[in-house]
């Protein structure tokens, strides 16, 4: 499986949310007040551009934590 740089994902999430995100912790949407629908879509588009992947529509709402995102990007890149 192609390893995804977790720090890159955290930086993209930080950029979308407008706040620091540590790659060391698994920040989730539930515990982040500012992670709203608009920022989520923007984050998804950033991920797709950066990693050259296309998330299936049904996956997009499920990308709700750093761990889930890293895992899903790795899965798509390996496919």
């Amino acid at each position: 499986m192609s390893e995804v740089n977790r720090e890159v994902v955290a930086n993209l999430l930080s950029s979308a949310l407008g706040r620091p995100v540590s790659p060391e912790t698994d920040l989730s949407r539930d515990e982040c007040a500012g992670w709203d629908s608009l920022k989520h879509v923007e984050f998804v588009f950033m991920l797709e551009e950066r990693f050259g992947v296309l998330f299936p529509e049904e996956t997009i709402p499920k990308l709700n934590s750093l761990d889930r995102v890293v895992s899903e990007v790795e899965r798509l890149r390996a496919a």
Binding site: R29, A33, G34, W35, D36, S37, L38, K39, V41, E42, F45, L54, F55, P56, E57, E58, T59, I60, P61, K62
Partner: protein
Amino acid sequence: MQHDLHIEGPAFTLRPVVLEDSERIVQLRSDADRTRYMHAVPNDVEAQRQWLRRYFERSGDYYFAVMRNRSTQIEGFVGIYDVREDEQGTFAEWGRWILRRESMAAAESAWLIFRLAFERLHLGRVFSRTLPENSAVVSFLDRCSPSDRRLVKDCVELQGITHDAVEHVLYAPDFPKLRAALEPLVVRLAQRLNSGAG
């Protein structure tokens, strides 16, 4: 009220609510997770039908179903209501905004309801009230009305309990800038949704 306002966006359409939507309204509003920050409705389709019959008789109240263009599936509902005038002009509250779990309609349905308010109803301003605990929606609306938000004390009653609410106001002169800011995201997301890509 009975109305024929429609607005079609690139992936979703707002169309008038009809009596036959009662079941879908009850289905969505019976989901405790989706409605913990809204008024409760009885899990009773006939009661919802009666509510809609009273709504059809009420003026200044526009209730819409959020329909996915490609499938015609109803993703949720949203409304503009209590249209009235004051010294600043005509204004209304918007809300009753609920979408099915994992719906991708949030950005476009908000964009469309604002377009309806300002481009079709020609309102001077619209406001919404959101419980502070509903942080994702507060954050979303902060983006739409960054300069006009305030905390209103004890203004919303839910299930017998009075709550403070975050009020966001959007004025007609500010809407073109917001529309332009949201439109690229709405269009890009719609292209993905319509293509079935991924």
